[in-house]
């Protein structure tokens, strides 16, 4: 269709729908470019990345479908920080601006934010931003060990990696001198640059194809429709103030997270007053990350099917007291901010139980990450992470899936691959009956995994487990899931310690079950019977949790 005819149809539902889908497709295609050109497995396999397209006013139009939750809505704020340093009128074609500052970007120094202004016919028309988790950034390495941000490696201010197409080799060499696995780090950094260039080309072709001068009107339409859809869903929630407070495990003792959510008509505010102050460990959460976790959780509850953009976040205001765990300030270290930050999700779900009882989820057992370092029996170095998931929290009318992570989402390494890569032996990997919280809907089961060091070498294991003191809570009257526990040679150990396994030693991971939903008296006899036959619950569990005596029932 001719450009003129397109203009004539202007932005009706047909053209908005098609162009919107195309913009999302462009962001997805930039992601594939990023994945294809990156060096590290963090990008190519874990997809710890996002791509964001913003209009010339810095408004988010589209974001890659496969973004991890923690990158929701951060890009426009990061862009604003970049424009504060390099105002839009000063940018030129071929400029590439970067930063990894936790407070300007996405919460820890590992994430590099790479922005390219997009020009067409000499006019600035858009911005493309690509964000990935780098394999290393120097300092103490990935973990919670830092006492202050200075331990957490290189912290780049907003700076130009490319100026009018000319690379600033000083920055590249500075990074090279300060990181481990420098080739991979620089390779990933430049993959981001390549990806934003692909984005620039695609956005230019998009405007030409649709005969548009810029994105302003389309972006406004996309965001307006998204905002309206979000407001419509929020309006269905009962007005009111909703409070929640939970205890979680810090590194040196329990910590309190608190929130207050006010729903008024079609808007809401979320505040974290009452949350404990920041600590001298790398688990503090900069506000950008806290906000992203709120936006992610609210998207799950409002319009999960809506593509990400700047519109759907407008009705949601997030605040937190400066200096608290969820609004940590420099020089608080933030390396493992996910350890605390992931709890924002259950915290706000718990608060909203009264507002949207049919939509919220009971707590998840969450992921257990364990780093293994040693030597394979074939002589090669081993350094890898084992992910083991607890059970998924139950929802109204839906049992939680067994061994399924939330809110983060990393897949387990298959036993056969793990054993081949590490020469350890997984003695068993079993579901734990009765570990899911009882309820009208049952929490997903946790699991028990036993790993034996058969490498003939010393093996060091670094643990960072949560849910070992405070179980995944049930909701709407559902029971909590079972606690997580770690054992070495069958002795219970500190879940946040590190251990040296001699050849033949075993480490056992007992993974938490998900919380249940609704009172257990509401569970159907058929569902209980099936759980019993399948061995997901034991006869003792049935008697204890559901008050049903199956006597000598023996699951086969």
């Amino acid at each position: 269709m001719t450009a003129a005819a397109t203009q004539q149809q202007s932005l009706d539902a047909v053209s908005v729908g098609i162009m919107w889908d195309r913009l999302v497709a462009i962001s997805d295609e930039i992601v594939t470019t990023l994945v294809r050109t990156s060096f590290s497995t963090i990008v190519s396999e874990s997809y710890d990345l996002t791509v964001a397209l913003m209009d010339r006013d810095g408004q988010l139009m589209a974001q890659g479908t496969y973004s991890v939750p923690v990158f929701m809505g951060t890009a426009p704020a990061t862009l604003q920080h970049m424009l504060d340093r390099f105002p839009a009128h000063s940018l030129r074609p071929g400029d590439v601006v970067i930063t990894n500052d936790p407070w300007l970007g996405t919460g820890h120094t590992f994430d590099i934010n790479v922005m390219r202004p997009v020009f067409q016919g000499g006019r600035l028309i858009a911005y493309v931003m690509s964000i990935t988790h780098l394999p290393d950034i120097g300092g103490l390495g990935f973990g919670a060990a830092a006492r202050e941000i200075y331990h957490e490696g290189l912290r780049l201010p907003v700076c130009k990696l490319f100026e009018a197409g000319q690379r600033n080799d000083f920055i590249v060499e500075l990074m090279r001198n300060n990181v481990r696995a420098a080739d991979q780090v620089i390779g990933d950094l430049l993959a981001n640059v390549t990806a934003t260039k692909a984005g620039e080309d695609m956005l230019g072709a998009f405007l030409a194809e649709y005969g548009l001068a810029d994105f302003t009107a389309l972006s406004g339409e996309i965001r307006g429709r998204s905002e309206a859809a979000t407001r419509q869903r929020i309006a269905r929630m009962a007005d009111g103030s909703y409070l929640n407070e939970i205890q979680i495990e810090g590194v040196d003792g329990p910590l309190t997270l608190a929130c207050r959510i006010d729903i008024t008509g079609d808007a809401m505010t979320v505040d974290f007053a009452g949350t404990a102050p920041a600590v001298r460990r790398g688990i503090n959460v900069p506000f950008c990350y806290t906000r992203a976790m709120v936006l992610y959780s609210m998207k799950c509850l409002t319009v999960p099917e809506l593509p990400n953009n700047g519109g759907s976040v407008v009705p949601i205001t997030v605040t937190a007291p400066t200096g608290c765990l969820l609004h940590a300030q420099p020089p608080s270290p933030t390396g493992a901010r996910h350890m605390i930050g992931h709890f924002v999700s259950p915290l706000v779900f718990g608060a909203l139980a009264g507002a949207v009882p049919d939509q919220i989820q009971a707590d998840c057992g969450m992921l257990d990450l364990m780093t293994f370092q040693g030597r394979h029996r074939d002589g090669h170095d081993v350094s890898t992470i084992y992910f083991a998931s607890g059970g998924f929290g139950a929802l109204a009318g839906r049992d939680g899936a067994e061994t399924t992570p939330g809110p983060s989402n990393m897949a387990v390494v298959p036993v056969e691959v793990w054993e081949t890569l590490t020469s350890t032996t997984i003695e068993h990997k079993r579901l734990l009956p009765d570990s899911g919280g009882a309820g009208a809907a049952r929490g997903g089961l946790g699991q028990e995994v036993v790993i034996r060091n058969d490498s003939n070498n010393l093996l060091t294991v670094f643990c960072m487990a949560n849910r070992t003191e405070f179980p995944p809570l049930g909701i709407m009257g559902g029971s909590p899931g079972r606690l997580r526990q770690h054992r070495v040679n069958n002795e219970t150990v500190d879940p946040k310690g590190h251990y040296e396994l001699q050849p033949g030693d075993r480490i056992t991971m007992i993974e938490a079950g998900g919380g249940g939903y609704g009172d257990s008296s509401g569970r159907s006899r058929e569902a209980i019977q099936v759980d019993l036959e399948e061995g997901f619950i034991t006869p003792e569990g049935a008697a204890r949790d559901y008050g049903i005596d199956y006597g000598t029932f023996e699951p086969s």
Partner: protein, 692 residues
Amino acid sequence: MAYRLGIDIGGTFTDFALFNEADGSVAIHKQLTTPDDPSRAVLQGTAGLLAGHDLDLAAVVEIVHGTTLVTNAVIERKGARTGMLTTRGFRDVLDMAREKRYDVFDLRLVFPDPLVPRRWRGEVDERCHYDGRVEIPLDLAGARATLTGLVEEHGIESLAICLLHGYANPGHEQALREMAAAAYPDLMVSLSSEVSPAWREFERFTTTCINAFTQPMFDQYLGRLEAGLANLGFTGRLFVMSSSGGTLTPGTARRFPVRVIESGPAAGARMSAFHGRVLGRPELLSFDMGGTTAKGALIRGGAAIKVYHQEIARAHGFKAGSGLPVQSPVIDMIEIGAGGGSIAEVDVRGTISVGPHSAGADPGPACYGRGGTAPTLTDANLVLGYLDPGFFLGGAMTLDTAAAERAIGGQIAGPLALTPARAAWGIHEIIDEDVARAFRIHASERGFDYRGSSMVAFGGSGPVHAMGVARKLGIPRVIFPAAAGVMSALGLLASPLIFEVARTRQAFVADLAQADFAATFAALEAEAMAPLTAAGISPDALTVSRQLDMRYHGQGHEIEVNLPAHTTVDALPALFREHYAAVYGAALLDAPLVVTTWKVEASAPPPELATARPPAAGEATAKGTRQAYFPGGYVPTPVYDRYGLGLGSAIDGPALIEERESTVVIGSGERVQVDDFGNLVAELTNNEGTSS
């Protein structure tokens, strides 16, 4: 005279293509599928087709058969009561799955239930390591007792034997089979080390369970078919189409029903590749769109890209990740929930979305007049004038345009303040966009540059949408093959016997001796060739190709490297670098190289399928004119009968070219020509993508 017959069972129709080897003529036939016993339609249709041509089934030397029977059994969970024996400590692998959500925003996502319930899974004492070392010997007596419980208390009819690292050392699995055969001779047994000898236990176990679950049913079905065909006088050879674009003997298909899951779509892609070879176009996009789904495949260097993983029976719409994984050779297919029956609705954004929900065949689109009220893609194409209400399926069915207009007007145009025509155009365009997007991402992930390639379009809805999709992708050429409605049935006749073997054995390239490397491949080659030589093919006639999955040490994912003939172990690093650069750009690491899964494919020579050419004729003359919508509005559009077009005739758009099962839609400024083989070929000059 010798004939070959292709029979493809689809959801609605069973298609027949009868090829006369003497003159290259093809007779086609369609018969309604009989879901309760699909062999009935096969036998009735075969008898009817032959009678119609005054032929005896004895004249048919070969029948190639494609079927969705195995997939349907899994989707509908209508298979055998299947039990499983596995290594102690690992029976929960099927419940734990990948421990990952396929959608992070949808909290109510669902995962498919395992095919074998937990109570029918027994554990046995035994343990092998990744390198095949035995740590715990097999406790056969204990296993026997466990199996007795499964058979006698639970009544299992088929057994999957799935031991950890069974691909590295199949000894324990084989011993268990012998034990089971001695104890229960009628029990069907599937071994993970034979069905899918590659690592990743969840995928291998699930694949083996699917095989066991469908084996008794498929065995009985093939038995009925063979007996029925023999009754009709068939004395030739029967082959079964596989998911990977090759054929299998009935014996092999009985052992590995999991290999025939996607046989229909595979035959279609195989036929696209065949057309590409004939036309000298080795780089193609194969685009097939029917009533409920659209399927795409990339043809690279004249062959469809093949992979060793797929997903079936998705539990959550068409969401990738919500189905059961199958780890067996298959053509790398895009599947989109977009077809003629796809339902359009106003989504939460206030825009139109189409699919994946489908009105199916019953009640079907509103225009079918069978009680359907939801607006579908077929309704939109009717309102746009692309379909002739009086000539649907060659006139076998009349469409109700007023009903289509009502559905679109009431549910889409009204709420969105659009004219019905604009709303219908929106529905049509959104499907073009969805298909184009799927191709873009699929091609981009595989490093396939489609901009210079051609598209082959077929299926009932493919030719209606192909030009729009091609424009969006910037593809210069679209080929509409003759007999597009029975493309899969024809593709069956173009498929050679093929057997693939993929076995995991990890090794560092630096540690791999040439003799060991050669011996490992030689053993796999023998394994891959065995089913073919058993079918009477001379080993000298076989083509054998080899691939290796390789990766850098420390990386979790492999890339597949094609090994040219006579590749030695010394050549592996250079070959790997070349493939890695092609897939991931130029990024190379300084890390040791590892080989993981070794693959061998043996194939017989492809059968001849030189079809007869249509008569040369002069000018194309339209059989009529009707109003059809193109951007800008309705225009009087000439309508042509495809069967009346002779070689070389050319048509300028806008034009509609009708055949029995579909309509080719050509826009203004586009030109299509009948080539020497009877295909319609459209050249899109200066195509750099256009808009809605």
